[in-house]
Structure formats: C-alpha cells, structure tokens
C-alpha cells in the first residue's frame, strides 16, 4: 500500500477510532468494576474454548479404566471421572460446548425475536395484533416445557438443543424489542425515511434495528446465561447433549451425583464452571444495562 496523504489520513482515523474504542472500554471497566469482572470471566472462557485443542492436557474422550475416579493430583489436575476421563480437559472442552450452545441459542433467539418485534412494531395495526397474539401463545408456555417439546420432536444432540433453547427465547425477546421499537417508530427520521420512499425491509433493518440494539444486547447477554443453565438442566434430565461429548451439564449427571461424597471433584468443578459462566454473563449484562440506560447514568 503506497504511503499517500489519504492513506495516512485513513490510518490515523482508524487509529483514533480504535483508541477511542479502547478508552471507552477502559472507562467502562473503571466505572463499573463488577461488569469488568464479568467481562474478564467471559474473556477467559472464550479463550479457553478457542484454544482448547492446545490447552487441554489430555483427550477429553480418552477413557482410562485403570484410573477411574482418581482424586486431583499431578497427572490429573482436577481428577478423573467414572470412566477415567480427565476432568480438567473435559471442563476446557466443555466451555466450547457451553459457548456454542449459549451463543447459538442466544443469537438465533434474539435475532428472530428482534426481527419479529421490530417488524411487529413497525407495521402496527392488525399485523401487530396478530403477531402479538401468536407471541403470547408461545409466551404462555413455561420455558423448559417448550424446550422439552422441541427436543421430543427433534431429538437430542447439540444442534437440536440449540434450537430447543432458542425457541422459548424468541417471544421474550420479541416482546422487549417491540416496546423499544414502538418508541423508535415515533422518531422523525423514520417518517423521513418513509417519505423518501425507502422500502420496509430497508427501514426495519437499517434504521430501526440499530436503535434497539441497547435493550437487545442486554437481553442477549442475559439469555446467554439462561441458555447455558437451560442446557445444563436439559442434559441433567438426559434430554440435552449426549455422551461422550464434553459438556458441563452432562458432567453433572449420574455418576457425579452418586459419587458426590467420595469423589466430589466430579460434581463441584462443572457446577462451579456453570455458575461462574452464568455469573459473568449476568454481571456484564447488568452493568451494560446500567451503562446504556440513560436514566441511571451516574451524575
């Protein structure tokens, strides 16, 4: 790339933007230490999931019947489970499953929910009423029952679990987004866009969606925590992710409970991992809500 005045300009602009971004993040961390802690926890989790292949000392699927149920020690830092599999490695790979399920379900749930919510608010009138009714119908089902029904139809396994968890989240997201979108709809620039002849799809995607990002983001982070918990519950009931996949909820099933007294490491560590992950997401979401809600800004 030739060094021209334009490129220098571009580069400095990009740098300035990046440093502004970094400054904003550091600001956030300083003002809201709890949120920062949440962010750090999540960062650690993401790094663990991404580098699992390098970080995990042993193959999480490798059974070792000679070393079943061994206590934490030199060879297995967090001990082994009922089949002699290394708990630490399974925890590390488990973060990958948790993030996949959490992100997948949260993403699908919030995206669908947001689009439905915004479209419903935008079109208003009869469309709004009908969509609201349909969302109400789904809303009236307890979360876990809806997830169970979807699993009963689709079967078990990671992909199906993601869909099962995303399903009850769509109406909840739609409802929250709709109320924000209703406020945005009254904004003058929406009318201007209509007057300019922009199509519905363009207005919804380009103009309304970005403005409901704040509550959407808060919902999404809260959902992430919920999704991880829901996956754990489904796996605990035997209707979620299946053996021999490494997943935190799965690790808490069966043998972990049975051997809870003599081999507590099997139940304690996955339980801690789940709690920490959900904790982190909730802290972050909480602080985000505080930061983005103008009424609660620190004076």
């Amino acid at each position: 790339m030739a060094v021209t005045p334009q490129t220098v300009d571009e580069l400095t602009r990009a740098e300035k933007a990046r440093s502004r971004w970094i400054a904003a993040v550091l600001d956030f961390a300083r003002q809201r230490p709890l949120g920062a802690i949440g962010g750090v926890i999540i960062l650690v989790m993401v790094v663990m999931a991404a580098t699992a292949d390098f970080v995990a000392p042993i193959d999480p699927l490798a059974t070792d019947y000679g070393a079943m149920l061994s206590a934490p020690g030199a060879e297995h830092w967090l001990g082994t489970d009922a089949y002699g599999r290394d708990v630490l490695s399974r925890m590390i790979y488990g973060s990958r499953t948790a993030l996949m399920v959490g992100l997948g379900a949260s993403l699908i749930g919030s995206v669908f929910g947001a689009v439905i919510g915004v479209a419903s608010a935008y079109f208003g009138g009869r469309v709004d009423l009908v969509v609201q009714r349909i969302m109400d119908v789904f809303f009236a089902f307890p979360v876990i029952i809806l997830a169970l029904a979807v699993v009963a139809i689709l079967g078990t396994g990671v992909g199906n679990v993601i869909l099962a968890i995303a399903t009850p989240m769509v109406p909840r997201c739609a409802r929250v987004v709709r109320s924000s979108a209703l406020a945005v709809r009254e904004m003058p620039y929406i009318d201007a866009a209509r007057a300019a002849g922009f199509g519905h799809r363009r207005i919804i995607l380009r103009h309304m969606l970005p403005n409901v990002m704040a509550p959407l983001l808060i919902m999404a982070t809260a959902f992430l925590g919920e999704a991880i918990l829901l996956e754990a519950s489904l796996s605990f009931l035997g209707l979620g992710v299946t053996e021999p996949t490494a997943a935190w909820g799965l690790m808490l099933r069966g043998a972990a409970v049975e051997f809870a007294e003599s081999a507590p490491w099997m139940a304690v560590f996955p339980g801690l991992a789940i709690s920490l992950a959900v904790f982190g997401f909730n802290l972050l979401g909480d602080s985000l809500r505080d930061a983005l809600d103008p009424k609660l800004r620190i004076q």
Binding site: A152, E243, G254, A255
Partner: protein, 531 residues
C-alpha cells in the same frame, strides 16, 4: 446325686440356650414395610403391563397358580402357591393341579378352579376385543379345564420342559371369574385378589398402601401388618430414603456406589444381598442396513469389545458385572467360562481380538474411520456407561461412532420400524429358563421383537429342538450350539455384560432372599421385620 443335679442344670441351660437362639430365628409379627418404587404403573392389570412398577406395589394383593421358590437364590424352581400339588401325565401332555381349599378373595368369596380357568383363558384365549400381551408365551397350551372346584387341568400340544416355569410367572394374577365375565377390563382400574395383603389406598403419584389379610389361606402368614410402597422417580432420593431410615428396602437394585455409601453410613444396620441379574443389554445390528448384512462386519463389532476388562472396570460404577452368553452365569444351562471364552468377542487376548476385527473390516471393504450411528435408550444406568465403553472400544479399531440418544419410551418406535443401524436392546426375564431367554433371537417372522430383522432357520431349528429336548445333557449341547451360532458365527446380536443386582437393605428386614429377577419375590408373605 450331685451328678444328676449337674446334668439337670446343664439340660435346662442347654434348653434355654436353644430356645433363645431359635427365638432369634423365628419370625416376629407386626410392622409396616416401607419401600420406594422407581416407577408407577399405568393400570393395575398384571396380565397387561410389563413394568416392575406394577409388580412391586401390587403383587402382595394377589396369588399365582405356581410361583418361583422365594427362598431359593437361584430363582429357577417353580413351587406350589395356589396349586397345592400337581401331577404330570407320562406323555407330558397333561398337567393336573390340585388347588388349596379355603382360599378366599378379599371380598369374602371362595376361589375355585373356575377362577383359575377364567384367568388363564383370558391370557391364552382372550375373547375378541380384549387382546392379550402374553398369548405368544403359551402357544404350547391346547386347553384349560376345570373338572371340579379344586382341580385344574392343562392340556398341552407338545411336551415342554419350560411349561411349569410359564405357570410361575409373577404376572399371572388369579382373577375372579364372575368379575371377568361381566367386564374383562375391570382389573385395569380395580384390585380384587387372594393375596396376603388387602388394598387400602393408592394416591396417584405418591404411594400405595396395603394391610394384612386376616383370613389369608396360608395360615400363619403374612407376618407384616402392612406395607407402604412410595413412588420415587429419582434414584438419589431412593438411596437417601434408605439411608435416612425412612424406607427399609428397594426391590429393584442400587448401584455399587450406593451400596458402599449406605454401608459406610449405616454399618451393621445395612445388610447387602447381591446376585447376578436376569437382565442384559444387547447390541442389536440391523441386518437390513448395509454394511451390517455382512457377517464379517458384525463379527468385527463383537471382536473389538474387551468384555473382561469392562467387567472389572464397569462393575465398580454400574450395575453390570459378569461376562455372559445367552444364560445367566451360574445357572444350570449357562456355558462355563472356559467354553465361553472361545467365542468371538470373549477371547482373553484382546490384542489378537482387535487385530482380527481390523482384518475383517478391511476384508469387508470398510475404510478407516468408517462412521455409523449407535442408537441408545436415554436411561442413565447402565445404558450410558455401556455406550460410552463400546463407542470407545470401537474407536480403537478405527470406527467412528455417532451416539444418538432417544428418550426411553419413544425409543422402540424407530427401532421397531428398522430405522436404526446399530442399537441398544435389552432383555429382562422373570425366571432363568432358556425357552424364555432365547425366544427373542428367533427369526423375525416368528418373533416380531427381533429388531435385528434377520431370518436364520438353523437358529430356529436349534431353538425348537432344545425346547423339546427331554434329556438335560442333550438340551445343554443344543443350547451351546445355539449360542455359538448366535454370538460367534453369525454375530446376529451381541451380548454386553450381565447385569448385577445389588440390594442393600435395612437389617430389620428378614426372610427376603434375593433372586436373579426383580419381578420375583414381591408377594411379601415370607418377609418380616425384626423390630
């Protein structure tokens, strides 16, 4: 004179000692037995249901014609129950049973041979519109007759060594003929039997209570004042109830770890009884899906499994233990280990076994890393540990196995339709009897429960021959041949490990002997509480 006095004193002392010791043995009357039951039955009709969830709370209300000897740990001997004695004709085609006199239903009416006949007619020759689950088991019966009120005669089509075992089935509750005549489905929602306990109440989702039948025909029994069966789905809750001394015993089984925990917590207050269990998980291979129609592939699947190592390892964490063939190890017709270890998959040299497996897979043309789906039933114990073990073993011969878990009750739908490739199947018997244990492996046109969907006339022929064999040694020989063809030569179905029944119970419970079946010994007439 002094000698006489001394002798006298000694005699008295000896007498007292004897009396004291026998008093510790003789049953004490009274008390309510409390036990958790993991599953609740959908109806009360024993002729129709298949779940132990029906037997455990309801068997005490009924009697059967014969029963499996409750004091015999092998669980193989049919002994008299309602029938006092029987005679067999020389050609083996007619069995005449003499019934006890003075047997009363709980409503006070007298039980006669008419009731026994009506019961068995319902099971074997159901009227149209009623249907019977177990009709197929009694194909050998030509007719049931009741020539006089205390005699029942069964006429058979051919001589069968397993017939008496069939009559000892814990499911064949004796019902009242008059009631069946009015409404054949009455027993689904109601209870009226001749058993040692009478029905008190059933609170849905909660418990069943029974109390002592004061006019029970077997004088002196039952010893208990009553029983309380509490429905508890969660196994941890069941263990906790025994540990917290709120329940006395659980009649199905606990895991090895539960037993250790209970022993550690309660010491001598817990007595442990263990037995090989007449239940086994099988690997079914769908012969209609390629490449599983090739017996080399099927043999490779069984050769890859190191059953001996698994027996040692998995018996610590699961309710499985012995390496087994088609019969429960230690029972009369079971193949001794030296013989068994010659079959494919049972070799003690696992290296050789796996090498052979790889060779067969290559010969059959399967690439390295060949992938297939193993379909499993979503029950944690012991389906999950066995699946984890097998998937790992198959991995070691270069097979990449996907694990598909289906929830328990929906499981057999796709299996039955033939939509699965390799799947987990299971078999639980109420009595160790080759006719019953090997019935499953007959060709699919004879037995629809053969989900591997194969047709093997040689196997069918061996089954029929052993069923009619009158000489015990001849029968053993035929059974071994059957086993060899099933597990080794053709590898139609694979055996995993025999289940192992572990019952740690309160030491107050006396008189109950463990048998290989969790469907047996639940009438509770021989059980008593020491305090």
């Amino acid at each position: 004179m002094r000698m006489k006095r001394l002798a006298g004193l000694l005699a008295v002392a000896a007498g007292a000692l004897l009396a004291f010791s026998t008093q510790a043995q003789s049953p004490r009357y009274g008390g309510e037995l409390v036990f958790p039951v993991p599953s609740e039955p959908p109806s009360y009709d024993g002729h129709r249901e298949n779940t132990f969830g029906l037997i455990h709370p309801l068997a005490p209300f009924y009697n059967t014609l014969l029963r499996v000897d409750p004091n015999d740990p092998s669980g193989t001997k049919p002994v008299p129950s309602i029938a006092e004695s029987w005679t067999e004709s020389t050609d083996g085609l007619t069995f005449t049973f003499k019934l006890h006199k003075g047997v009363k239903f709980h409503d006070g009416s007298e039980m006669t041979s008419k009731d026994v006949k009506a019961t068995y007619d319902k099971i074997i020759f159901p009227p149209p519109g009623v249907g019977s689950e177990r009709k197929g088991q009694y194909g050998v019966v030509a007719a049931v007759e009741a020539p006089d009120p205390s005699t029942v005669v069964f006429k058979l089509k051919w001589a069968s060594a397993a017939f008496l075992a069939g009559l000892a089935s814990p499911w064949n509750f004796i019902y009242k003929a008059d009631i069946l005549a009015k409404d054949p489905n009455w027993y689904e929602k109601n209870i009226m039997g001749t058993g040692p306990f009478t029905f008190v109440e059933h609170v849905k989702g909660s418990h069943v209570v029974g109390k002592k039948n004061q006019s029970y025909w077997d004088k002196g029994k039952p010893y208990l004042d009553g029983f309380r069966a509490i429905f508890m789905r969660d196994s941890a809750a069941q263990v906790a109830s025994v540990r917290g001394e709120r329940a006395h015993i659980q009649f199905r089984s606990f895991t090895p770890k539960d037993r250790d925990n209970l022993k550690a917590a309660l010491g001598d207050k817990i007595t442990v009884q263990e037995s090989a269990w007449d239940c086994i998980l099988l690997v079914g291979i769908n012969h209609e899906k390629k490449p599983f129609d090739d017996k080399r592939v099927r043999r490779a699947l069984t050769l890859a499994l190191d059953r001996h190592e698994a027996s040692k390892a998995l018996s610590q964490i699961a309710i499985v233990k012995s390496v087994a063939g088609v019969q429960v190890p230690g029972t009369p017709f079971a193949t001794p280990p030296e013989e068994l270890n010659k079959l494919a998959g049972y070799w003690t040299d696992i290296g050789k076994s796996r090498a052979e497996a790889r060779r067969l897979l290559k010969e059959a043309g399967l690439p390295e890393g060949f992938s297939f789906t193993f379909t499993n039933r979503g029950i944690p114990m012991p389906y999950e540990p066995l699946a984890v073990w097998m998937i790992d073993q198959w991995r070691q011969v270069g097979l990449n196995v996907k694990h598909n878990v289906i929830e328990p009750r929906a499981y057999y739908t796709p299996v039955r339709k033939g939509d699965t490739e390799v799947f987990m199947d299971f078999q639980c018997g109420y009595i160790v009897e080759p006719d019953l244990d090997m019935y499953k492996f007959l060709s699919v046109d004879r037995n629809p429960a053969n989900y591997a969907r194969y047709t093997d006339r040689v196997l069918d022929d061996l089954y029929d021959k052993q069923s009619r064999a009158t000489n015990v040694e001849e029968r053993k020989r035929l059974i071994r041949q059957f086993e060899k063809r099933l597990l080794d030569e053709e590898a139609h179905y694979l055996m995993t490990l025999q289940w192992h029944r572990i019952i740690p119970h309160s030491s107050k419970v006396k008189g109950w002997t463990i048998t290989p079946s969790h469907y047996l010994n639940n009438t509770l007439d021989v059980v008593w509480l020491s305090e």
